[in-house]
């Protein structure tokens, strides 16, 4: 009816009775402007000085643009808001300046605090899904920051200790906490949202994992070739925390899928997710196996090297500083024992990994087809445990490698010193002999 009425009225607009003659309109306009033009009094305006005119100008502007009663109140409000505005602007500037800060920067704490605040708001007003997304985003941001910070430190190691501490104690901790909340919230998710959430969480944790792996690579590549053990320590700590966090990330991704399997095992999307998880896990197992094999080989070379090196001086007739030799010998025995133990444990880890990878590859497709997703997921869990153990073995092996390398370096130095001492000793020996001869005479 409204629309029809409008149309009818619009057609009425052109009705003769309601339309003015255009000739009358223009003629009347001319007359009107002439009439009112003579009304204006320019003289009064000229007499006033500039400031009076300005004030009047303001007053009339105000009365046209702002309602009268409002103007007075507005003046006060404006003053007060200006004061608060200035204070607020400082705060906003700080927050927005903190937006691009990295671990170790002065404003990094402000950034985290701001995020916590917006997270709290989401927790109050948002759905469970929103809260999870927010937390996973937060974790993702942390991982990206860590990557950038690590890269920056590598290029410019000026404030390396500060940044490394911030990464370890603040950024990685925040990442872990965000993920912990995610895994808690995952338990309370509704059946309707579970698949959607699982998709998001697996996708995002996948990205975070990838980033953390790159971080680890950046950190360890930095340390490769550097023999000095004490310089390694701080970085090694971070690497350890990074690896631990990576495991947590992986765990959250898996539990999201497990959750979906539990609540909606008949969903085709869940099946697809399980497939993806299995594939990723197999790749991870293989990678882990390759890594540990590489380290194992390195360990073998290093230990062989050290045995060869030390063997000569120990049996050598010129070594007289028995105390030192003994100490090195003990050290060597320790290292060799470590090497043997490490090698055997890493060999066991390799076989575990290979077996797990093979098992997943052969059995999982059939299980998925039979809709036994729960079993597949528990196999994935087992595989994750194997990778975790392998990770420990790799760390241990790397430690032994670096210690052995360090020992070998000491041994080489010792050997060189011994050699020098030997030359010196043989020359003093000749002098002694000369002296002996003279005494006999």
């Amino acid at each position: 009816m409204d629309q029809k009425l409008k149309e009818q009225f619009q057609s009425l607009k052109s009705h003769d009775q309601l339309t003015p003659d255009q000739s009358w309109v223009s003629q009347h306009r001319r007359q009107l402007l002439q009439q009112i033009g003579s009304n204006t009094n320019e003289a009064a305006k000229k007499d006033e000085n500039f400031f009076v005119r300005l004030e009047k100008q303001f007053a009339s502007a105000k009365s046209v643009f702002i309602p009268r009663g409002f103007a007075l109140a507005a003046q006060r409000v404006l003053t007060v808001s200006l004061i608060f505005g200035l204070a607020g602007a400082g705060w906003i500037a700080t927050v927005s300046a903190s937006y691009n800060s990295l671990p170790g920067d002065r404003l990094y704490g402000v950034k985290l605090a701001t995020e916590s605040m917006s997270g709290a708001v989401t927790q109050l007003g948002g759905s469970q899904q929103d809260v999870i997304k927010k937390n996973i985003d937060r974790a993702k941001r942390r991982s990206d920051e860590i990557q950038t910070a690590v890269q920056k430190v590598k290029e410019n190691p000026d404030n390396k200790p500060k940044v490394e501490t911030a990464i370890k104690d603040v950024a990685l901790k925040d990442l872990g906490q965000s993920l912990e909340s995610v895994s808690q919230d995952l338990e309370n998710i509704s059946d309707e949202e579970v698949v959607e959430v699982a998709k998001v969480v697996t996708a995002e944790t996948g990205k975070i994992k990838k980033t953390l792996k790159e971080v680890k690579k950046t950190l360890t590549e930095d340390t490769e070739g550097v023999v000095l053990v004490d310089q390694l320590e701080s970085t090694k700590d971070i690497v350890e925390v990074v690896e631990k966090t990576t495991k947590v990330v992986d765990g959250v991704g898996i539990s999201a899928v497990e959750n979906a399997v539990l609540k909606k095992s008949d969903d085709e999307a869940v099946k697809e997710m399980v497939k993806v998880v299995v594939e990723e896990k197999i790749t991870e197992l293989k990678e882990s196996s390759d890594e540990i094999k590489k380290v194992n080989q390195e360990l073998e070379e290093v230990s062989l090297n050290s045995v060869n090196n030390v063997a000569q001086p120990v049996s050598g007739p010129t070594s007289t500083e028995n105390g030192l030799v003994l100490e090195t010998e003990n050290n060597l025995v320790d290292v060799q024992a470590d090497t043997i133990i490490t090698r055997s444990s890493s060999t066991a880890a390799i076989s575990d990994l290979d077996k797990a990878a093979e098992g997943l590859a052969t059995q999982a497709p059939q299980l998925i087809q039979d809709n036994k997703l729960g079993e597949v997921m528990s196999a994935v869990r087992d595989a994750t445990a194997s990778v975790k153990e392998a990770g420990v073995a790799v760390l241990q092996a790397k430690k032994v490698v670096s210690e052995t390398k360090a020992n070998t370096a000491i041994q080489e130095e010792q050997k060189r010193l011994d050699a020098e001492a030997g030359i010196l000793e043989s020359s003093t020996g000749t002098i002694d002999m000369v002296e002996d001869v003279s005494e006999e005479e």
Binding site: L18, T19, L32, I36, V64
Partner: protein, 187 residues
């Protein structure tokens, strides 16, 4: 016309007594005001004179010493137009030419007669006749809403009534118009 543009024109008129600024306002409103006036005053000559008076009065009010500032030109000019129409009606009522109030109490018979009368006319014309048989308030809201496209808030400003009140009036007027035109359709 954009309200900010109107405000700057109003400012120019107040401050500089600028006739050209008023000319611009005139261009934007002259046809609307003419429609508003001629709706109630069917004599062309009379309507033209009244429109001319309305704009002159508006100008004088704007440049004079104001006790109340003008925020909204459309509300202002329509209000002047309304008052002047009322003056004309009063003068006429004194001469007993046309009854001013009382359209709302129009007897059934008369409505019937009007409906018969409009049968032969075009749709637009019959609508006009129906409208003119309604009381002033109804005419105004229907005209402002459906022809000029004003919002309820703007109409409330022009007529000087509360928005809720305007909403009710629009509803009643529309209903009555529907009844009137519906009767015509049936017959």
């Amino acid at each position: 016309m954009k309200s900010l543009k109107e405000k700057s024109l109003l400012y120019k008129i107040r401050k500089e007594k600028d006739p050209d600024a008023f000319g611009e306002l005139y261009d934007g409103y002259v046809e609307k005001i003419y429609r508003f006036v001629s709706f109630k005053i069917s004599n062309k000559q009379e309507a033209e004179d009244l429109v001319s008076e309305i704009f002159l009065k508006a100008w004088q009010y704007l440049i004079g010493e104001q006790h109340k500032s003008i925020q909204n030109f459309s509300g202002f000019i329509y209000k002047i137009a309304r008052n002047m129409i009322v003056d004309v009606y009063r003068a006429r009522a004194a001469q007993r030419e046309i009854p001013f109030e009382g359209a709302e109490n129009m007897p059934e018979l008369q409505t019937q007669k009007v409906a018969e009368h409009v049968l032969i006319k075009s749709d637009a014309e019959s609508l006009l006749i129906h409208l003119q048989s309604m009381k002033q308030e109804y005419q105004e809201v229907l005209l402002l809403k459906y022809m000029e496209g004003f919002s309820t808030a703007e109409i409330s400003q022009i007529l000087g009534k509360k928005k809720n009140n305007i909403r009710v009036i629009i509803h009643r007027a529309t209903k009555l118009l529907r009844e009137l035109t519906g009767e015509q359709d049936l017959s």
